[in-house]
């Protein structure tokens, strides 16, 4: 079976800066795929290209075997791609329920159905008690959940999660992980950008590592974490060799 999402040799330039350089990734149906890399590697830029907020300079994006490179954002959402924002973007003047309903209206034109759907999603992500609150009153953790809820309410086939765990404390992260796992269990494939390694390791089936715009490694999370190129990308040139030498030295002593 072909991949749900296939990004083929995408390059994104901003003037002279190459933010994403010839990157190709695939997300399989029903999988959780991680996209990791040091700050400024181009992860969020790649997300904006996949979601259609920025056109790719070159390369193509295919979804369910269909080329969507030229499709505007809102049509990609209709096709089944939903994203969250790294910097949360709530509709601050609206209640939590109304926020989620905007997403739900995509597939449910009737108000009663959209609101019922919003309630159900709200409970699913743990916002059940706050549905009538204003979105501006939510905590950081609450806003991250709201991002997730709105995206889920569009009933996507592919969910792009941009650092939904960033800024949360360890207990909030523990609360959030089962929510993400339950979404996958519901049949939604997830592409996740994340810095919280513990989460990446336990959630993802496979991981791509982006550094300076290039994909430098791909594979199962455990393998990728031992890859010398990945360690160097995070810790600097020669770090892998030093670590090996140190490990060897420790073994001798």
């Amino acid at each position: 079976m072909s991949a749900l999402l296939a990004v083929n040799a995408v390059t994104k330039r901003f003037g002279g800066l190459v933010a994403v350089d010839n990157a190709s990734i695939e997300v399989a149906q029903g999988s959780i795929t991680g996209l990791i890399g040091p700050n400024g590697a181009g992860k969020t830029t790649l997300f904006t290209v996949i979601a259609g907020f920025e056109p790719a300079t070159s390369g193509s994006v295919a979804f369910e075997g269909r080329d969507i490179t030229a499709l505007p954002t809102h049509q990609r959402a209709s096709a089944g791609i939903a994203r969250t924002f790294q910097i949360v973007q709530p509709f601050a003047g609206l209640s939590v329920r109304e926020n989620i309903a905007v997403g739900a209206f995509l597939r449910h034109p009737a108000r009663a159905n959209a609101l019922a759907k919003a309630d159900a999603i709200g409970h699913q992500v743990g916002l059940g008690a706050m549905l009538d609150q204003s979105a501006s009153q939510l905590t950081v953790a609450g806003r991250k959940r709201l991002e997730l809820a709105r995206a889920l309410a569009t009933e996507p086939k592919l969910l792009l999660l941009d650092e939904v765990l960033a800024g949360l404390n360890p207990s909030e992260i523990r609360d959030m992980m089962p929510v993400v796992q339950a979404i996958r269990a519901g049949g939604v494939a997830i592409l996740i950008v994340e810095h919280v390694m513990q989460a990446v390791m336990s959630l993802c089936d496979s991981v791509y590592v982006l550094a300076q715009g290039r994909i430098i490694a791909a594979g199962a999370p455990g393998e990728v974490a031992r890859d010398p190129r990945v360690i160097e990308a995070y810790l600097g040139h020669g770090a892998a060799a030093r670590m090996q030498a140190q490990a060897a030295g420790d073994a001798h002593a």
């Binding site: 809102h74 959402a77 939903a82 601050a92 109304e98 309903a101 905007v102 995509l106 034109p109 709105r150």
Partner: protein, 324 residues
């Protein structure tokens, strides 16, 4: 109990409809009719500006198009006013769509959009003032023929009820919008356009729909203005005064609310009248433009102390009285 969302509209409209029965003063009737016309113009602004967050400084362009359309269709083409009115509203919608298409496709937002609408209104004003077809600087006079078939009423109360009927319809329409998918998407675009697009909202289509509807409604206000005064010139139809009142009324009443424009129009025009009378007595003669000073002060007070308008103040007051 079943939800009755339209009940408040029914109560308010019925209350307003009964007002002229007890009053026969021409001054009061004129005031009420004019307040309804301004409410209509303001309600048009409110759909685009209040719900959609696209602040227009030039709603005169729609008001004037409706007013001129109504007058010229009658005078130049002999169209019956009852037919001319929907046609002129259609013209307002077309102008709305055209301005929206040009400015929203160019991604104009915020103060840039406001400036462009202001510029459009000025272009229309200057053109109407120069063009022979629109009567140039002399304006257009609609012949007086008091006959209901001619939408001119000997009984001023009927003119008021007609305007009130439009206000009632637009109040109901506005409420229906707030409860619809279009309304939810419109508000989402106002709050955060990027996030709305990520949720599948076609922001351009939503804004175009809003400005088209807004243009038609504000044009209807222009039509009623023409039928009430039977005279137009460029600075009445396309002048900044109506752009200002169309946006001040919702801001004072409560921006992005169903009743805001109605409350705001009555408060605004009421205070304007009171000021004129008070100053006329103090100065021993009328002081033209003194009501505009009051409007300016009101706007400053509203922005500083009551960003949600009169309705917001009243709501806040009730909440403090009865904490939930």
């Amino acid at each position: 109990m079943k939800e009755q969302p339209y009940l408040p509209i029914l109560v308010v409209v019925a209350g307003l409809a009964l007002l002229p029965l007890g009053l026969s003063s021409n001054t009061v009737l004129n005031f009420l009719s004019f307040a309804m016309i301004i409410t209509l113009a303001a309600q048009g602004w409110n759909i685009l500006g209040g719900y959609g967050g696209q602040f227009s400084f030039g709603h005169a362009v729609f008001f004037g198009t409706g007013a001129y359309g109504m007058a010229l269709l009658q005078v130049r083409f002999g169209v019956n006013p009852w037919l001319a009115l929907p046609l002129a509203m259609g013209l307002g919608a077309v102008v709305g769509f055209a301005i929206g298409y040009l400015s929203f496709r160019a991604r104009l937002r915020g103060s840039y959009f406001a400036l462009v609408t202001l510029a459009f209104a000025e272009v229309f004003r200057i053109s109407a003032n120069a063009w022979g077809f629109t009567g140039g600087a002399a304006g257009v006079l609609v012949p007086l023929r008091l006959d209901p078939a001619n939408m001119q009423f000997a009984d001023k109360r009927i003119g008021f009820w007609l305007a009130l009927g439009f206000v009632a319809a637009v109040l109901a329409l506005t409420l229906a919008i707030t409860r619809s998918r279009f309304g939810a998407q419109l508000v989402a675009v106002r709050e955060n356009e990027e996030a709305a697009r990520a949720l599948g909202v076609d922001a351009l289509a939503v804004k175009l729909k809003a400005i088209t509807l807004s243009g038609a409604i504000t044009a209807a206000a222009g039509c009623l203005y023409t039928q009430k005064f039977l005279y137009l010139d460029a600075s009445l139809a396309y002048g900044p005064w109506i752009s200002v009142e169309a946006l001040l009324a919702p801001i004072i009443g409560g921006v992005g609310t169903v009743f805001g424009p109605l409350v705001g129009a009555i408060v605004l025009l009421g205070l304007g009248e009171v000021t004129k009378i008070v100053f006329a007595n103090l100065m021993g003669g009328s002081v033209p433009g003194v009501d505009l000073v009051v409007f300016g002060i009101l706007l400053i007070i509203c922005v500083a102390y009551a960003p949600r308008g009169v309705l917001g103040l009243v709501q806040g007051w009730f909440r403090r009285k009865a904490p939930a």
